[in-house]
């Protein structure tokens, strides 16, 4: 390529390149830098420096000119964007940044800035167990995972200790305990619900959700420059305390301290470069987001962590004589078997008791019922199951049905409301070949990169599972003595869960998978995919913790393989 403004090839050569700086990319960079590799992170969005680039972090509502609403003029280029609020507008992505085609309705949330969605996530971190890893083999869907819990267990512990996970030791086989700092409190209503579940079911446990917040900073967190969570519950503005885990607060500055890391923002990855002679990848081609110039970077090993769907897009666009149908895609399955989580079911209720009690303050976490359907054996009319998020508290309200003096007095003196409890379904979806992403043959974006077509839809299994949740959440609420119960299937389109996975799945056999048990391409060992794209099945736990553990494991394996001169 013609790169008139760029220095010599040497200046564009690293030991490792990581595509993406979100939760998994940050972990890849940290592990590789810790092991002494000169690492380049390519991030398509702008830079976001911890603390300095959280412009709204410490603002009260009155400090926003429009109290949250973004003026029409400012939002005219953001018609389809998320985070269009004054508090979070700095994360919103312009409509023309990456248009895509929804063959079926799909909500695609993206975080295109340094740190990616690690600044925007819900921070819930539940481990998988072998009930999850053995799911496809036991129930006969997708393909067998090439790894088991024991492969990941030390890496879960590794990332948990560093990230800081608040939670408790619950001793449940279906949700193995994490390495934790103390969990947040449960409310009296949540405790009441927990007891009712124990009494009425026996195999349904309400626990405090494990979440990536530091409730009791350990030396390793202090060394990162992070502080105790302040319970602001303003997390998605960016946290100046580093109270929750993000790449920006944690892995990236850590990797930067090794002096091995270079982060290059505004680097929109076009493709992975395959060297036909050497039979391996030689680097990554980008389009500079500002100059639109094409630039090639080189490395011995490449980690793809661009987020599930965008990693698929990059790999589909990485064609060569060896791989005419997309990178490593001899099986023809690249972009297929995309799955996600089913968050369609929601329930609400009120409770008449605990009149003399209330909750006080803001809870950055929530309670959680691990999966109880089909855990030890298949016994429902649908495959797999769902976890349930639960939040119950008592807040205040003001009657605003009038105007005048009474309205003012009501607003100045809010009243205690009744106890409310909400629950939401977090269902596993079964990966299907027809749920896929592919490149449009003609349409391109402003960087000259083919646009992506997303073609994902619910299946009958999802409908049946949602029906079960709706029925069961109602029953559990009834048994707990709750009233005014509503439980519904909201029928929201896929993607709303922001847990899309797969398309570049791991497996034993190159014939039906793309990656091996170390997340290497079967057909190109120096390229690793360790974000959600690698997932063979989805379980129902919030997936980011597992992406991070898989990444740390693969990065350390890559370093060992480089030492053995295998890469």
């Amino acid at each position: 390529m013609a790169n008139f403004n760029i220095d010599s090839t040497d200046d564009r050569t690293y030991d490792a390149i990581v595509i993406g700086s979100g939760a998994s990319g940050g972990w890849a960079a940290k592990e590789l830098c810790d092991k002494g590799l000169k690492t380049l992170i390519l991030e398509r969005g702008r830079d976001v420096k911890h603390i300095k680039d959280y412009p709204t972090a410490s603002k009260g509502p009155w400090q926003f000119e429009y109290r949250g609403t973004v003026p029409l003029d400012a939002r005219k280029d953001f018609q389809t964007a998320r985070f269009v609020r004054e508090e979070t507008f700095h994360w919103a992505i312009k409509d023309d940044e990456q248009p895509f085609i929804q063959e079926k309705p799909f909500r695609w949330f993206r975080g295109y800035h340094v740190g990616g969605k690690s600044l925007l996530w819900a921070r819930q971190t539940q481990r998988w167990s072998d009930f999850d890893f053995e799911g496809p083999a036991r129930d006969g869907f997708a393909i067998d995972w090439p790894i088991r819990y024991k492969d990941l267990e030390p890496w879960y512990a590794h990332v948990e200790k560093f990230a800081g996970i608040a939670g408790n030791k619950d001793g449940l086989a279906e949700l193995p305990d994490s390495e934790c700092v103390p969990g947040f409190e449960m409310s009296c209503l949540e405790k009441h619900f927990k007891e009712s579940l124990q009494k009425n079911y026996g195999d349904r446990y309400l626990i405090q959700g494990r979440c990536a917040h530091i409730t009791d900073p350990q030396q390793i967190h202090i060394d990162q420059g992070r502080h105790k969570c302040q319970n602001q519950a303003l997390c998605n503005r960016g946290c100046v305390y580093g109270g929750y885990f993000s790449s920006n607060a944690s892995t990236l500055p850590w990797a930067m301290k090794t002096k091995k890391l270079t982060i290059r923002p505004f680097s929109v990855v076009h493709s992975i470069i395959y060297d036909e002679k050497k039979g391996k990848a030689s680097g990554v081609r980008i389009v500079d987001g500002n100059t639109k110039e094409t630039i090639d970077f080189y490395a011995k090993v490449i980690f793809v962590n661009a987020s599930t769907i965008n990693s698929n897009a990059i790999l589909l666009n990485s064609t060569s004589s060896r791989f005419p149908n997309g990178f490593g895609n001899d099986s023809g399955l690249l972009g297929k078997y995309v799955a996600w989580h089913n968050y369609r079911g929601k329930a609400n209720a009120t409770y008449d008791g605990f009149k003399d009690k209330r909750t006080d303050g803001r809870n950055p976490s929530n309670a959680y019922i691990p999966r109880f359907r089909n855990v030890r054996k298949q016994d429902m009319n649908f495959l797999r199951g769902y976890a349930i998020g639960v939040a119950g508290g008592r807040g205040t309200f003001s009657d605003t049905s009038m105007i005048g003096d009474q309205l003012r007095d009501n607003l100045l003196n809010p009243q205690l409301g009744s106890w409310n409890i909400a629950s939401w379904m977090q269902g596993e979806t079964v990966p299907l070949e027809k749920n896929h992403v592919r490149l449009h043959p003609d349409l391109k974006d402003k960087y000259g990169i083919p646009q992506l077509i997303i073609s994902c839809d619910w299946s009958e299994n999802d409908d049946k599972m949602t029906e079960d949740y709706v029925q069961q959440s109602r029953e559990m609420f009834e048994k707990a003595g709750f009233t005014n119960i509503t439980a519904v299937d909201t029928k929201t389109p896929p993607g709303s869960d922001i847990h899309e996975m797969g398309g570049v799945r791991m497996g034993h056999d190159p014939k039906d998978s793309l990656l091996n048990k170390w997340n290497q391409f079967h057909h190109c060992k120096n390229v690793f995919v360790t974000d959600g794209a690698c997932m063979t099945s989805t379980s129902c736990q919030n997936p980011t913790l597992t992406f991070m553990a898989i990444t740390a494991r693969a990065a350390n394996y890559a370093v060992e393989e480089m030492k053995r001169k295998n890469l």
């Binding site: 429009y66 973004v70 409190e185 003399d356 909750t359 605003t400 607003l411 100045l412 205690l416």
Partner: protein, 163 residues
């Protein structure tokens, strides 16, 4: 009550206004429209013996908000309804809306609340909800009255309700 040579009569709280106060920023609202808008906010949440919409700056918030965050059709309706409100006050009470007493102003506004005219109804709902938003999110209400702190926060799951 005549005020500083303007054609409109200003209520007492506005008597100390200068031109700069009213048009301190570029706005599509004329001075008289801004005064009417302020009177509407003051009617929805009057200060009484405490604080109200105007003492926490809801009037300026509303002008900016409607100018910059709402489509032109909404802006036009707000202006048209302000005019109608003023005309209605002239007819019913022989004075401008802003010069009416609180009870007269509330009476005029509540007519819109129960009106079958969609435009009137929407105007009322918009004015009420945005005045409430401006008031409840003000520093005075959140910090002085409700002791809100950005940090440190806290969370206790089960505390006694204070008697």
């Amino acid at each position: 009550m005549a005020a500083s040579g303007s054609l409109i009569a200003l209520p007492s709280w506005a008597a100390r206004w200068t031109q700069a106060d009213v048009v301190g920023f570029a706005s599509s609202f004329t001075t008289s429209e801004q005064v009417l808008l302020s009177s509407v906010a003051d009617t929805i949440i009057p200060a009484g013996n405490s604080i109200g919409a105007l003492s926490v700056g809801v009037d300026k918030f509303l002008v900016k908000l409607i100018d910059n965050c709402y489509e032109k059709e909404v802006q036009d309706n707000v202006k048209a309804q302000l005019r109608k409100l003023d005309d209605g006050a002239q007819q019913s009470f022989q004075k401008s809306f802003s010069a009416c007493d609180l009870q007269q102003r509330q009476e005029s506004l509540l007519k819109l609340a129960s009106s079958n005219d969609k435009a009137e109804n929407e105007f009322f709902k918009l004015m009420k909800s945005e005045t409430i938003r401006g008031f409840s999110t003000s520093r005075e209400v959140m910090v002085d009255h409700q002791k809100y702190k950005v940090a440190p926060g806290h969370y206790y799951g089960c505390v006694d309700v204070k008697a």
